[in-house]
Amino acid sequence: MPSDAPAGLQIEGLQVELGGRPILADVHLQQAAGSYACLLGESGSGKSTLLAVIAGLLRPQRGTISVHGQQVNGDGIFIAPERRQIGMVFQDAALWPHLTVLKNVLYPLRARRQAVDKTRALALLERMAIPAAAARRRPHELSGGQQQRVAIARAIIAKPRIVLLDEPLSALDHGVRENLREFLHELFAEEGITALHVTHDPSEAFYLGHRVGVLNAGHLEQWDSPESLYQQPASLVVARLGGSVRALHVPVLQHAGKQALIHWEGRRWPVPASAGLNGATRATLLLRPNDLEIDKAPSDAPEATVRHAHWHEGRYLLTLQATDGQEFLAQSRRGDLGPRRWHLRPDHGWCIPVQSSANDR
């Protein structure tokens, strides 16, 4: 994106309270126009609230929101939902039961007093694999997957500046979900519409999002590429979204740039580290199972005790306990319990500051 082009979505210092309870705290994010981004978070993390605020269905206490360079919220400005030129796909499709499929799709055009182009609507439905005959039916006569496709058609027909998708796949069966995920990926890539997709499924977010944000208890923990989210998570909460991980408290001997030298189990280990470590003497070391070598560990490598082993994705996943009592995971071809030697692979592991919000948990 050229630097002078306006962002598709820009949020600054957003704060939302409901009934005196903080729901979103100081959220900042910037999304490139035409990109597909995902927001990950567990139930109650505030992700649907964030979408409601962007859509104008909820007024924030503080902060500004701009869509394609137009400020829609903040500094005394509040643009009503219907004037924001937004499309939205809801978790349960939210198709109006008293209108036919075609009328549902045409609604945004009628409501915005644009030309009611039935040919375009039918073409869009056809592209969504909804047969023309089904356009005259009521929503309840369609399957869940078809309903969600109609909802997507409704969301994009009026060429919105941004489409918000609130867990659009979570109510669908596994097969339908995979199918629709691929469809969404292709559709939005071709149309070049800015889209913000909320989900609690990391695989969905990593599949679809050029950028992925992680919301935790109202805080945006990280807003980054899927790769960075996996390799350089800002917190344990973010790290967990990439799969099994363990957090260990370790002393830091030295920290420079993106590297830290830690001391653990009688050895010094150079480990990739967050810039936020900033000369701290202790850090949280995040270790995934493939960060450790256990089957070919040198004979002088440190020893840990295998407490538990179970068959997982073609290998044994071992839970090991170090001599200082901390637990970590490793993969092995052998699943026997008892002492095993282990070794930290070069350039593996990730050190973050102890005070990172998620490390408290």
């Binding site: 859509a55 269905l57 219907e82 939205m88 809801f90 939210a94 109006w96 609604y107």
Partner: protein
């Protein structure tokens, strides 16, 4: 802007419908009674023997109605839940119909059935039965029984819902762990039923203590006085004593509000947690008690109404030579005041049904938003449930006939529409709220996000989605307005009658045949109009 307008409109509607008459009553009750220079009418009631007698009459009538209706309603609910007959929806309809018959009509019908020349003695060999029944009917217990017949369907609905809400597994668990059938009932069913029984009792008490028509017809002969007739007397009989009427009204209102506040928490949890259960065993004998209730609550009274509407002379009885269409001809003739009363009732009720539901929808939208103002609006909207019609009528006389009020409402038929709208508002808002609760908020949010203005969303999404509920609510409002008696009697302008006051007036004057003919025409015409209107509106 539109939100502010919506708020102001709802406050105006509720202010005019509920707060204004209530405020007028409170103000008037604090004035001295007629014939007194000083003092406060409300306090002067304390030494008024007539008032104390009326209070005990009201409490007695309402208490007896509770005593009669609870066992009947409970018995019917248990029968239809545990041992329903075949075609149980049909039998259930028979149980519910007595609630649709105005209680004053049931009282009139039973007064025609009983007595030495009543239809029961004309048709049966039991010569003493009619007289015995007449003695019972024209007593405090008889008044309570007429109200119980009218309100037992309500008791049935509440108890049936409580039974359906219960968990059948509790009963099974009790039986499996050693309880007898009765013990299991006590353990698994009775605790669920007790709040519903209390709620039903309070509702029957509330409705009966506010009733005017039944005591107006029966209390005089029974030598009983009740508060509602005392209020009407104080506004109609010389010397007119509006402060006293207001003071008694305030007491009756306070009684209603007290009962209403006791009632509301009891039914709060009773909302649609219907459990799946095994089909009940169907038995034939359960139709016997249901038939007996339908016979005394509906079949005999309606038969009496129809028979009398076709009789030349009451004393001659049910003989071929005594049958005539004369009353129908008279009522339907071009210049008949009966026909004009029917037209007025239909017009006013239709008006109230449309505007009442529209206002209720506005208020329900506001209540749905939550918060303190919403709670206040909800309270005001449901308060008329606790305000007896007679009290409301006094309040409306005081407010709309006040010297400073120059609006041409008092003395115009529109005042009847205002009174009906107030009385039926709690029903209208209940339907609107239930309908709104059934629409997922996302449907409206989707409308807003995709470009619909708030008004567009209401017109294109909310109203079409709510349509069946709105039509249902309008039907109930229409039916309740058609049968309203006391406010109509007290507020109808000179030269204007509605169907209920025509029937009541004819009965009081002894021209019973005309009144009964109009009852039959009224029941059929409103059923026909409602059926056609519902069919047309719901087909959309």
């Amino acid at each position: 802007m539109s939100r502010l307008f919506n708020h102001l409109l709802v406050y105006l509607i509720l202010g005019v419908l509920v707060l204004a008459p209530l405020g007028a009553i409170i103000y008037e009750a604090l004035q001295p009674s007629a014939g007194q220079v000083h003092g406060i009418a409300l306090l002067q009631l304390g030494v008024d023997q007539q008032f104390l007698k009326s209070l005990s009459g009201t409490l007695g009538m309402a208490g007896l109605a509770v005593l009669f209706s609870l066992p009947m309603g409970l018995g019917l609910a248990l029968l239809l839940y545990f041992v329903p007959p075949r075609l149980s929806p049909l039998w259930e309809a028979l149980i519910l119909i007595p609630f649709l018959i105005p209680p004053y009509l049931t009282a009139e019908a039973w007064s025609l059935l009983t007595g030495p020349v009543g239809m029961i003695e004309q048709l049966t060999a039991w010569q003493a039965l009619g007289t015995t029944l007449e003695e019972f009917l024209f007593s405090l217990a008889g008044m309570g029984m007429v109200m119980a017949l009218h309100l037992t369907p309500l008791v049935y609905i509440l108890l049936r819902a409580a039974l359906e809400n219960g968990n059948p597994r509790l009963l099974q668990a009790a039986r499996v762990h050693g309880s007898s059938a009765l013990g299991a009932f006590r353990l698994g069913i009775l605790p669920l039923l007790l709040p519903a029984l209390a709620a039903a009792g309070l509702l029957v008490f509330l409705d009966t203590s506010a009733e005017f028509g039944v005591p107006a017809l029966l209390a005089g002969y029974a030598g009983v006085q009740v508060l509602s007739t005392s209020i009407e007397g104080a506004t109609n009989v010389w010397p007119v004593d509006l402060p006293k009427a207001s003071a008694i009204g305030l007491i009756l209102c306070a009684l209603g509000v007290l009962v209403w506040f006791l009632y509301r928490p009891l039914v709060r949890n009773n909302e649609g947690r219907i459990q799946r259960r095994a089909p009940a065993r169907r038995v034939w004998w359960s139709i016997l008690p249901i038939s007996i209730f339908a016979l005394i609550g509906m079949i005999l009274p309606l038969a009496a109404v129809v028979a009398v509407s076709l009789e030349k002379a009451l004393s001659v009885g049910l003989r071929g030579s005594n049958f005539t269409w004369h009353h129908y001809h008279h009522v339907l003739s071009h210049s008949s005041s009966g026909l004009s009363a029917l037209e007025t009732s239909l017009r006013l009720s239709a008006l109230v049904a449309v505007f009442g539901m529209a206002s209720a929808l506005l208020a329900a939208n506001l209540v749905r938003k939550g918060g303190r103002i919403a709670a206040l609006v909800d309270l005001l909207a449901t308060l008329p449930m606790a305000i007896p019609g007679v009290v409301l009528a006094v309040g409306m006389i005081l407010f709309w006939n006040a010297p400073w009020n120059q609006l041409p409402v008092f003395g115009h038929p529109i005042i009847l529409a205002v009174a009906y709208a107030t009385g039926t508002f709690p029903f209208a808002i209940r339907y609107a709220r239930t309908g709104l609760a059934q629409i997922p908020p996302r449907l409206e949010q989707a409308g807003r996000v995709h470009g619909g203005s708030p008004l567009h969303s209401v017109l294109r999404i909310q109203i079409p989605s709510l349509w069946p509920m709105l039509v249902g609510g309008a039907t109930v409002v229409f039916a309740l307005s058609m049968r309203e008696l006391v406010a109509s009697l007290m507020l109808q302008p000179a030269g204007v009658q509605v169907i209920s006051t025509y029937i009541y007036g004819n009965f009081r004057q002894g021209t019973i045949g005309n009144g009964m003919a109009l009852s039959v025409i009224g029941i059929f015409s409103s059923a026909l109009i409602l059926g056609l209107a519902r069919g047309a509106l719901l087909r959309r």
